[in-house]
Point group: C2
Chain length 115, copies 2
């Protein structure tokens, strides 16, 4: 349980940092979603740039059975590395944004053999 709390804090720190990059477009906001009950966490851009809809997830993490899953990352930050620097072991990080067959070759958690 302590481990999950630590992982949650790491995730929330990364997302809060990302959400501080406020858009210069007044009709676009960064939205933080923290759901500690279902363990889904993300930051989105939502709004309008003139007639163009701005709507996408910037960064998204889940916690599943004591592991962190990276589901989305459209930034240039290496979020896996950032989590490792915060003390999360590589084998507890799963790259959901890579197809399952690739995961054994990423150096991160291997959904085939670890879960």
């Amino acid at each position: 349980m302590e481990k999950i709390e630590h992982y949650r804090t790491c995730i929330e720190t990364l997302l809060e940092r990302e959400s501080r990059y406020q858009s210069q477009r007044e009709d676009v906001e960064s939205q933080l979603f923290f759901d500690p009950v279902r363990h889904h966490y993300q930051v989105m851009w939502v709004g309008w740039q003139g007639l163009k809809r701005v709507y996408h997830t910037v960064m998204h993490f889940d916690i599943r059975e004591d592991k962190i899953w990276i589901q989305q990352n459209t930034t240039d930050l290496d979020v896996g590395e950032a989590l490792v620097e915060m003390g999360v072991p590589k084998e507890d990080i799963f790259l959901g944004l890579h197809p399952p067959y690739k995961r054994p070759y990423t150096g991160y958690g291997d959904s085939v053999t670890n879960s």
Copy 2:
């Protein structure tokens, strides 16, 4: 405050109902995000269909200053109408998924004059 609680219940009911449509693809899950602190609520599909990433928001609502904002809806349900049937007045529903200039003509909340 009671009004916000009611709106939150309406939103959660619609999202929970939507999330019950389980994917037949075993590698795709429906993810509910309920963040009652920041008042962002959504359901997403997340996973893999073979080598193809499945990653999109199905339905998304925000509550802002006592109003419900519909930010995304990729279903064939008329969610505005569904909210009205649950007792939400039309003027308290804002169609964030339509560009601002269109909103005065939708019959729903008009961000130009109401907010």
